[in-house]
């Protein structure tokens, strides 16, 4: 008898935040593999998703993670459940070598190869991260809260590396707050982890802010895709 949880990998977090920022589609297309289509909330504007997780329990222990991703059109089989959103993570930074090696091997996620530091400041109704590498700033981002509810949302991620192209379903469960009040903000610093972005062109105010607490991120098994060439 098969175990329905077979192949699932879980990462438990205290806080997970995401800021969605408009930036030029030309920049998005320069980063994306050719077969992935950026989602445009406005003509010519794609979505840069900057996300950060504060994991307290995972197969590789506690660590924090900064993700730079682009929202793309989902790809599902007919009849398959539709994800809340799909994204292409193009650079991740983690605070430990073990978590980095695990994510590269298991999920083919493209990493910034230095340990980074992520400082979390939890305030009244807002949360701020300061990501740095050996004292050099990478990203400072503030996300604000709205109404909280308990959710279990499905997302779809696309990855590719020298070995091939992949997709995985990712579920995020826990307390959830989302708003489009434009109260948060970001400063993207010129640094190796952000060098694919034309930071001058990234909007400094998120059009959407996500904050999740006390939850779990569940990766479903990776699927290899044949439809786009690795780069």
């Amino acid at each position: 008898m098969s175990n329905k949880n077979e192949g699932l990998v879980q990462y438990h977090y205290n806080d997970a935040i995401g800021g969605f920022f408009e930036f030029p589609t030309e920049n998005a297309r320069a980063i994306l593999p050719p077969d992935l289509q950026p989602v445009e909330p406005r003509h010519g504007s794609s979505v840069l998703a900057v996300m950060a997780f504060d994991f307290h329990t995972s197969p590789v222990g506690a660590y924090s993670e900064l993700i730079l991703a682009i929202f793309v059109a989902p790809r599902v089989e007919p009849g398959e459940a539709w994800p809340r959103a799909a994204f292409y993570p193009f650079r991740l930074g983690t605070t430990t070598r073990e978590s980095r090696e695990h994510a590269i091997e298991r999920w083919h996620l493209p990493h910034y190869m230095q340990d980074i530091n992520i400082g979390w400041e939890r305030g009244d109704g807002h949360i701020t991260i300061h990501a740095t590498d050996r004292g050099q700033p990478i990203v400072d981002m503030t996300i604000t809260e709205h109404e909280w509810s308990t959710v279990d949302h499905r997302y779809q991620a696309f990855m590719n590396d020298e070995e091939g192209a992949y997709t995985a379903n990712i579920f995020l469960a826990g307390l959830f707050s989302e708003n489009e009040e434009e109260r948060g903000g970001i400063v993207i610093h010129s640094q190796a982890m952000t060098d694919l972005l034309d930071d001058w062109e990234v909007n400094v105010t998120p059009f959407r802010e996500l904050w999740m607490k006390d939850g779990v991120q569940t990766f479903h098994p990776l699927k290899q895709l044949a439809s786009y060439a690795p780069r």
Binding site: P24, R42, G44, W82, R84, D152, E178, N179, E182
Partner: protein, 425 residues
Amino acid sequence: MATRVEAQTSMSVSDYDYSSFFYSSSDDPFAILDPYSEWYTRALRTGYYLFQQPMSTPPESRIEVTEGLHHEHIKLLNLASYNYLGLSNRPEVIEAAKAALDQYGLGAAGSPLLSGMMDIHVQLEEALAKFKKKEAAMVFPTGYSTNVGMISGLMRPGDWIIADQNAHASIVDGAILSKANVRFFRHNNPADLEKKLKQTTGKKLVAIEGVYSMDGDVCPLPELVEVAKRYGARILLDEAHSAFIYGDNGRGVAEMYDLEDEVDIHIGTFSKALGGQGGYVAGSRKLYYYLKGFARARVFSCALAPVVSAGVLKSLELAQREPELRERLWKNVRYIRQRLEEEGVDVGGSTSQIIPIMVRNDRRIFELGHKLFRAGLYLQPVIYPAVAKHRSRFRVSISASHTCEQLDEGVQILVRVLREEGILV
């Protein structure tokens, strides 16, 4: 029973909206129709039926609508139609339209560039140009085609269009069709406009609106014009919701700010203040000549129906001859705004005749819409993706034809339902 899109998650029908169905799986373009229909038929029952309910009366203060769920005919107080000056059903307008019907028949039967131009169109264009104090005005069959035709007719690949992030879909679609580079600046934010303009070289067009249709706020035209001029950009001002009602003579927000000559392209529609249909571009004679050849949305559309053109011409005449219509509109706006403020209703940043009733609860907006509808008030819910998440609202449109008693009645119904539902404390 959960739909396929809900499977495997805790999401319900209200977690989805139109934006969830933009992309589909499989190689068949029709593959999206099944899951969409499955969601939509359920969404209809939960509140989407409030959209597109057929009206069987003129869009006046009192209307009759066929309810979307049970097909009952329901009499309602109308605070949703654009009929700002109350001209859509004026006897003089109807008389002019009837006379045009007798003279011209139903349609123009041709593109304005070919056989569709009639003398009533020439009269309307000349009257508009005179009213706007411009060399020429060009009439389009819809407001949408006006922006699409204007922008795609003038701008080219490699050019730059810098538009307010809340610009109407017709401005966006015109920009897409032009294949020019497009950037959006933060709403009503001259500093962000400057940031975007700084990054551009070559031909530039700044596209803004006089009054924005969802929030009812007015653009800071002097500051935006100053920035645009400093960077050598041309300015397109869409006065769909401000022409014929703003300014001492009704020439719009540009007149109100005394910036009519600084704006290069004046856009307006006939479907709002004039109660008709169609749109116009007003500007230089040379712009008219160029658009005559290159505004494909006009060249390849049948001309505005002569019956509508005659009605609009009469509406324009009345709007100019009866400034008391504007005075009555603004008196009504002041009145209802004061009543809403007294009751503590959140109207966002509106300063115009478009007054959003901010509910800020995406999950309950349809339930409230249903209760308002059943209580006799006709208001349209506005929800994501038309507005940002958690900024759902009802949009009130005030008309000169409303009476104070009707506005009181509308406020009473609104406040009662908002209080009963805990939105207003």
